[in-house]
């Protein structure tokens, strides 16, 4: 049995500390130590993207990162998307365009899309499809998800103008 270690991470802008075993996966630390259950566990085999969070701004599958590897780094989860003035453009887009059916993939989808729009504020449909190709929606609601991303891109542009 390996001894527990302290992991200090900035999660959604706040410094958090957790005692975890080295084998603890980031998703478990987020859900079970930090009690942020918006990040879902889907396949648990690095296939589905339901557990996507941003690690230092990049979308990663948190079921395939060790919690200790987030030590000293910044993590953004779905709970961190909403700003003081309301839903983020991506969240609003998913709501307005009904970019979800059952909602299970939604937190991961929104994290991937948030990172996409940071890097590419005006993605084409093809670029959106490629960007979300690591996030599975088993309701196959991709058409509305793509609409939601376009909505968010327009909303961001409006906010920036």
């Amino acid at each position: 049995m390996s001894d527990k270690v302290v992991v200090t991470t900035t999660v959604n802008g706040e410094e958090c500390e957790a005692m975890v075993e080295p084998r603890t996966l980031l998703v478990h630390m987020i859900r079970e130590s930090l009690h942020l259950t918006g990040t879902h566990i889907g396949c648990d085999t690095t296939s589905c993207g339901a557990c996507t969070v941003l690690l230092d701004g990049k979308p990663v599958k948190s079921c395939t990162v060790l919690a200790v590897q987030a030590n000293g780094r910044e993590v953004l989860t779905v709970e961190g998307l909403e700003a003081a003035d309301g839903l983020s453009p991506v969240q609003e887009g998913f709501k307005e365009e009904h970019g979800l059916h059952c909602g299970y993939c939604t937190p991961g989808m929104m994290m991937t899309v948030t990172a996409l729009l940071e890097e590419n504020p005006h993605p084409s449909e093809d670029e959106i499809r490629k960007a979300i190709s690591g996030n599975l929606c088993r309701c196959t609601g991709y058409v509305n998800i793509i609409k939601a991303v376009h909505y968010a891109a327009r909303k961001r542009e409006g906010a920036a103008a």
Partner: protein, 292 residues
């Protein structure tokens, strides 16, 4: 699913990492991106007693061209290669392959060198590295060791990398004038292994092929070097359709695909023929500056 318990070591220098690996006495594993190793540990296909995480070592994320070589450090992620303008412009085969390794999320973590060291027989990078004649620079307790990408992989998940060695950098010869390359992969869906994939590199003098290299992914036990197919092209024109067809035929002949969910053997063999031809055309156009 959790991996078995292990001791976690996060060295801040290569020396420390080499020492930790030696101390692990065969039961320690190096982790860079962890995108292959962690899933194997979760499925208990691997249960190393010690994990040595390279992510805290500065200087391993080098991606630059220096002294006639492209240097790809142990912490260069697939997505770094995918997004690099230098790579897209000068090493199009790497750019092509990077777009098809796993999925975009995995590409943000997984690394080029880690993938080679992992030694998955169906890995895309083994073909790319061999086709470009990469040198694989490792360090161990006795200092630096250089392996050739061409015969680096010895069998399934087995490479020439010693148990006490760490692969720290891949070095790829910078392209000659009029060199072109391409990687074409057919996959059923994002993140799947290739049904078949082909990597090619050609050097032209005018339109005459003076050098050629062809590698085949996932149509045999390991990456296959289609040496006869490549040799058949020397002295031929890149515009000679019959020569490209013949190279495709020879590549298909040397492939050893097996029938599985990705298709029957005959289909995969024909994929190799067609992809070889197409990849040669693309590489030729790139060598002549006809395609970015």
């Amino acid at each position: 699913m959790l991996p078995s318990t292990f001791e976690y070591v996060a060295p801040t220098s290569l020396d420390e990492a080499v020492q930790a690996l030696a101390a692990g006495a065969g039961d320690a594993k190096i982790m860079a991106g962890g995108q292959s190793l962690l899933p194997m540990m979760k499925l208990r296909l691997a249960s190393p007693g010690t994990i040595i995480d390279l992510n805290g070592i500065a200087g391993l994320d080098t991606l630059e061209e220096a002294d006639g070589m492209l240097r790809i450090g142990a912490l260069v992620r697939h997505s770094d290669l995918e997004k690099s303008e230098l790579v897209a412009e000068r090493y199009p085969i790497i750019h092509d392959a990077a777009l098809h390794v796993a999925d975009p999320l995995i590409r943000n973590r997984g690394t080029f060198c880690g993938s080679l060291a992992h030694g998955d027989p169906a890995g895309d990078w083994a073909t790319v590295a061999a086709t470009l004649g990469a040198e694989l620079h490792a360090v161990g307790p006795n200092g630096a060791v250089v392996h050739s990408a061409h015969d680096f992989q010895t069998s399934m998940f087995e490479t020439q990398l010693g148990m006490d060695q760490i692969l720290v950098e891949a070095r790829i010869p910078a392209p000659k004038a009029s060199q072109g390359s391409a990687y074409l992969k057919v996959e059923r869906k994002v993140g799947d292994y290739a049904a078949a994939a082909v990597g090619v590199m050609v050097v032209l003098d005018g339109s005459t092929i003076t050098e050629a290299s062809i590698g085949l992914t996932n149509v045999g036990p390991l990456t296959i070097h289609a040496a006869d197919a490549a040799a058949s092209l020397i002295g031929k024109s890149i515009d000679d359709a019959a020569a490209l067809e013949e190279a495709g035929r020879l590549a298909a002949e040397v492939s050893e695909p097996s029938s599985d969910l990705r298709g029957p053997e005959e289909y995969k063999r024909d994929l190799v023929r067609v992809l070889t031809k197409r990849a040669l055309r693309t590489a030729g156009a790139r060598a002549q500056g006809k395609e970015a």
